[in-house]
Amino acid sequence: MPSNQPKRTPLYEKHCIAHAKIVDFAGWEMPIQYPAGIVQEHLATRKSAGLFDVSHMGRFRISGNQAGAFLDYGLTNYAGGLPMGMSHYTILAQDDGGAVDDAWLYRFESDNYILVVNASNKDKDWKHLQSLKARFTSVVLEDLSESLAMVALQGPQSEAILKGLLTGGALPEPKRNAASVAALAGHKVFIGRTGYTGEAVCFEIMVQADKAGALWDILLAKGAAPIGLGARDTLRLEASLPLYGHEMGLDSEGKTMPILACPTARFAVADSEKKEYVGKAAIQRQLAALERYKKGDFSDSSVLPKRIVCLRITDKGIARQGSPVFCQGRPVGVVTSGTSVPYWKYDDSQTITEHYDQRSVALAYVDCQLTAGAEVQIEVRGKMLGAKIVKRNLKPGAAAMMAVFE
């Protein structure tokens, strides 16, 4: 098959019927936006429920009695300790402590795991895992990306929508990262309380490819709004979630970014000394550097010279990937992702209103000594925009919808 032929997910026809604007993304013909547009799609996800086709991502099944041991070796998190009915964030590490990819590992059933990887890295990840498999003779690695489709349903109304469609099993309980096998409107599904939007109420659903269209239609009929890749990006950026190729992988100079330069990656690295895994020595050096930084000791910044920070732009204007960042006139790094995102306004009693506004946010890869509270400047078309490093631009947890600007 010619490799330059764009691929289509089982939901491609649905996107066309909905008049989506289709673009090429990582070799896939995907909806960048529907007629509502990126801003309205973003807002719909935050206020009610957004439905995303994420079937372009890679899905690998790992089974066999050494599956847990193999995943412990090939991934940074503690797969062996992942209980059935749970999932976690994890990373495929290189020996030098950089990332091959970041991924999500689900354990829906006791004897097998499903690893979801980035579409753009799928072939590379597959080869990487195959190369590590040699020492685990009884592991079976299968590519389910075509036979199993995947959608995400995100936002405060998601749970009510799914509850109304449940015909078997149960939704994953009680909290984020739980995973379950269930039936929605008669279709067998694998559900995780996971997502890429920062929403507290969030689900990702895997379904047999030939049932994906039927499930998609039902979810739309129940009130979910279709959301394209454009809003998927603004939602993840507002929530400060990393994207491989921006906040992970290679930096703007083509150098490997250490995994733990990205704060979110800390959740993907097991504390445990229990396991041997690819990249362990390098990652332990990064962990030691983070410990020193926490104590204010920046005497040795060779392992983690720069880190990913979250920025709020205080001047009018938008920072974009590649915009240089300065602190007191000194170049300190570069913007890795940036745009303007919409947010709902709240009234004095913290109730969501019908009004929204836009704000300019970014993620940047900057000098490791710069932390929340620091003022920086971002160069955009020869002008300097003021910006402040903030802990985050979106409150986590129950009030995830509440846009903060602290």
Binding site: K21, G37, V39, G230, R320, T339, S340, S360, R381
Partner: protein
């Protein structure tokens, strides 16, 4: 697609129209606005700025990208529509009306006649779409 029969056009989708008075009014076409999607930021030049035909006079940003805008006719900026940067949504509704961007005192009015007229621009859009 909405088009102003009185205006002249650039292939980069800026329009220019005679008036008010001896001035020329400049904006961005409905086609360009639709292609860009949600507009979130607009940067326009200050009054008094001297521009040569083809110079960048401003920047328009959607969620996804930033695009330069080119001046179809050279001259001095005599007025800037400050309402548009404050409310970019108006570009969708009235790209040739209330959402005009700048007015120019043309240094060489003959430049206007050399631009694509509405019929030529419409024909150009057909080729652009295919």
């Amino acid at each position: 697609m909405m088009i102003d029969k009185q205006a002249r056009y650039l292939q980069t989708h800026e329009w220019v129209r005679k008036g008010p008075g001896n001035a020329y009014t400049v904006g961005l076409t409905a086609y360009a606005i639709e292609q860009l999607g949600d507009i979130v930021y607009l940067e326009l030049p200050p009054v008094g700025k001297e521009l040569q035909k083809g110079d960048i006079f401003g920047v328009i940003e959607s969620v996804k990208s930033a695009s330069d805008m080119y001046i179809p006719i050279g001259g001095k900026v005599t007025a800037v529509n400050a309402d548009v940067p404050d409310n970019p949504d108006m570009l969708k509704a009235e790209p040739y009306g209330k959402a005009w961007m700048i007015q120019i005192e043309a240094s060489n009015p003959a430049e206007f006649d050399g631009l694509m007229d509405a019929a030529a621009y419409e024909k150009f859009l057909e080729t652009e779409a295919h």
